[in-house]
């Protein structure tokens, strides 16, 4: 910051820039004094470790960016570490614990939703299923204190989409993405 040329300035602005400089100097010394104290009393953070972590992360990002440019990272899995492969939709079959039917694992959640009478689509229907009625819990009263300080609107969620190939249905919360 270059100092204003004294000749060009009125006495008024000279005075105000002097005051400003004094204030600025004082604040700078405040910070220096605080840092000096922190260093002398051994209260400072372990900057070496912090810098090392930052360096490792920067290095990692560079390497990962490189390998994706070179096409090394394959998005498709061939085998897992146990030598197994898995289909896109989990094909294990088991019994639904609500209705007893045999269900394919990868379709279990949508089935259970209808079966239990939960979920948006099911709620629209007028079902008087006995199991649904007796198993309905209400959430506990605000006696349980969880993240009470945080903003817990339904908007703060990162959803996961239909990875199992079922066509994505509703969008949650009526929010829409901006590109």
């Amino acid at each position: 910051m270059s100092l204003p040329n004294d000749d060009n300035m009125s006495a008024h602005s000279q005075l105000s820039s002097h005051f400003f400089e004094d204030l600025l100097d004082s604040i700078i010394v405040d910070v220096a004094s605080e840092c000096h104290r922190v260093a002398r009393l051994g209260l400072d953070r372990n900057f070496e470790e912090e810098e090392e972590e930052l360096r490792l992360s920067a290095q990692a990002r560079a390497r990962v960016a490189d390998s994706s440019n070179n096409g090394e990272t394959n998005s498709k899995y061939v085998v897992d570490i146990f030598g197994q492969t898995h289909p896109a939709v989990a094909n294990e079959i088991f019994e639904c614990m609500n209705c007893g039917r045999s269900i394919v694992a990868g379709r279990f959640a949508p089935h259970l939703e209808k079966c239990m009478g939960k979920g948006r689509k099911a709620r629209l229907k007028v079902t008087r299923s006995a199991t649904a009625a007796q198993n309905r819990y209400t959430r506990g009263s605000p006696g349980s204190s969880y993240s009470s300080y945080s903003n817990s609107t339904g908007m703060n969620r990162l959803s996961n989409g239909a990875s199992s190939g079922v066509a994505g249905e509703e969008y949650s919360n009526g929010s829409f993405e901006e590109l």
Partner: protein
């Protein structure tokens, strides 16, 4: 290895300060005490004349730093302190009157003395309103932290080792136990990702593996009703059984939907919401089985024992310095991303060019932001008990007590209320593998607010460790409404990627470069003990997993 504690190191006085103390003791300090005034923002100054400004006795200057001699009270500016010391023998120690810091003229350096700090602090505290000064000088209760840590370790070694040795010898190859894929049951990767982290949270895992939860005699199960805790117990047993084929957590999904009726639907879900909901379910299921704890009122369900900590919130009146302090428990901490921008700028006005902002967000930056003093807006004026009116105030958060396992949730969403729109923030955030939470503790934050004076603040707990090691990272890719969750686990020096049914080994750099959403850190000691229990060495992926390895299992 000694962990850094929140207490200061007592600096050795210079020869001149030592001489001064020998000759004058505390008399100089005591005389000065009356003149010390501290502003509500914590800056202490020496003000001897209310009507005159202090001037240097040599040059009459009033700018630059001014120093008050501790022996004769004459004032010199920084250019003339040496002169004063030459004129008057032994007048080597002075006080910076604007900052109440000791200065040794002959060493030309700021020096420190705990006795002086104590005097400054006592005057400061005397001037503050009786209660609500933000400093708890009353004799505190003995920390229950040590007890908690010990009981956590009890959940631990011996039994787990026995259990581990009896495990199913079908365990293919020598990968760590408890490493098993989870089938996606239809958009349930939000659940799978959190379950992988819970499976490897040290005290949580030990609790469910050592049969502390005796599900045979669970009252609910015997009457054919659902019990979330029992289902989790069954889940843990299955995953740690040694069977490596992917497991379908169907019963758990069913059980969880029973508990959280409002979240029970096949639609896009949030992993963090699930995490909180599951802990809530464990708490409610467990709370009846346990008698309330008499002394501290803390809950002893496994969810609380492992994940709960305590936050401190201080609101300080900017007029008089009165501070109102409240404590709240937490199961996790949600952090806003530090973007390097001033928080008061209107989001809509910010330029959206990504190239403008080369600032890299870091976890420590987010934590700094979380514990930063925040000026409350004029619409949020705080009613000060002392002033008896609404005043501008400053709020500051800090961590009073750390949990055994710390879950940090990164808020990757932006809301635009005017446009009624939300967006996910894909910005990269650096996070460390080793995390020292010391700077964010209440003891550190409060001390800092009082100018880091050497003083016995209550809550300086020497026996608690603040060092954490990361063991799980839940990442999200995609948009707010549709995307995919994947968890990375750190087991025995190797990182594994858990993508629903697929478990693969990855390099550390993949994890460092990933877009994290939830970070799980365990207290260092617990993390290392837990890794000793997993009795296996990694095998090269090229080796035939069906051939037994000599000397293993």
């Amino acid at each position: 290895m000694m962990s850094r504690n929140s207490m200061y190191t007592n600096p050795k006085p210079c020869k001149h300060l030592a001489d001064y103390k020998l000759r004058h003791g505390l008399s100089g300090y005591n005389l000065l005490q009356e003149q010390i005034r501290t502003t509500p923002s914590g800056k202490s100054s020496v003000k001897n004349h209310q009507t005159e400004i202090p001037r240097c006795c040599f040059c009459n200057g009033y700018q630059k730093r001014l120093y008050l001699c501790l022996i004769c009270s004459s004032i010199s500016c920084s250019s003339h302190t040496l002169l004063h010391s030459q004129c008057e023998n032994g007048h080597d120690i002075a006080v910076d009157i604007e900052r109440s810091e000791l200065y040794c003229v002959l060493c030309c350096d700021q020096v420190y003395d705990p006795d002086f700090d104590k005097i400054v602090m006592l005057k400061h505290l005397m001037d503050l309103p009786r209660s609500g000064n933000g400093v708890d000088v009353s004799a505190g209760r003995r920390s229950s932290k040590r007890r908690r840590l010990c009981s956590a370790l009890e959940l631990d070694l011996k039994k787990t080792k026995q259990l581990v040795s009896m495990r199913d010898l079908r365990a293919k190859s020598c990968y760590p136990l408890g490493l098993r894929g989870l089938n996606n049951l239809g958009s349930t990767c939000f659940m799978n990702s959190v379950l992988q982290a819970l499976l490897h949270a040290p005290p949580f895992r030990n609790y469910f593996l050592t049969g502390q939860r005796n599900h045979e005699v669970c009252r609910k199960r015997s009457s054919d009703r659902l019990c979330l805790l029992c289902d989790i117990y069954v889940f843990f047993s299955a995953v740690f059984s040694g069977d490596r084929t992917p497991y379908s957590p169907a019963q758990l999904l069913y059980s969880w939907w029973q508990h959280s009726a409002n979240l029970a639907s096949y639609e896009q879900q949030d992993a963090h919401e699930f995490f909180i909901s599951v802990l809530d379910g464990i708490h409610e299921n467990g709370v009846k089985a346990r008698s309330p704890i008499k002394d501290t009122g803390e809950c002893h369900c496994v969810a609380h024992r492992v994940f709960s900590g305590q936050l401190r919130s201080d609101v300080t009146c900017m007029s008089c310095g009165y501070t109102s302090t409240t404590y709240d428990p937490f199961m996790d901490i949600s952090l806003n991303l530090d973007t390097g921008n001033c928080p008061s700028t209107d989001l809509a006005n910010k330029s959206l060019k990504p190239s403008d902002n080369t600032y890299v967000s870091t976890l420590l930056g987010c934590l700094d932001l979380f514990t930063k003093p925040e000026k409350l807006g004029s619409d949020q004026k705080f009613f000060c008990e002392n002033c008896q009116e609404r005043q501008d105030s400053v709020k500051q958060m800090s961590i009073k007590r750390l949990p055994l396992v710390l879950c940090l949730h990164i808020k990757r969403f932006e809301h635009f209320p005017v446009r009624r729109m939300s967006r996910k923030i894909d910005r990269y955030m650096q996070f460390p593998f080793c995390l020292d939470m010391n700077p964010y503790l209440s003891s550190s934050v409060v001390r800092n607010r009082f100018g880091n004076r050497m003083f016995a603040f209550e809550g300086d707990e020497l026996d608690t460790s603040t060092e954490f090691e990361i063991f799980a990272v839940v990442t999200h890719s995609g948009t707010l409404d549709s995307g995919h969750y994947v968890t990375y686990l750190h087991l025995k020096d190797q990182w594994y990627k858990c993508d629903d049914a697929w478990i693969t080994a990855v390099e550390e750099e993949v994890v460092r470069a990933s877009q994290c959403y939830m970070l799980f850190y365990a207290q260092k000691m617990l993390y290392y003990k837990a890794n000793e229990d997993l009795v296996c060495q990694p095998v090269s992926p090229r080796a035939d997993p069906f051939l037994p390895i000599a000397g293993c299992c």
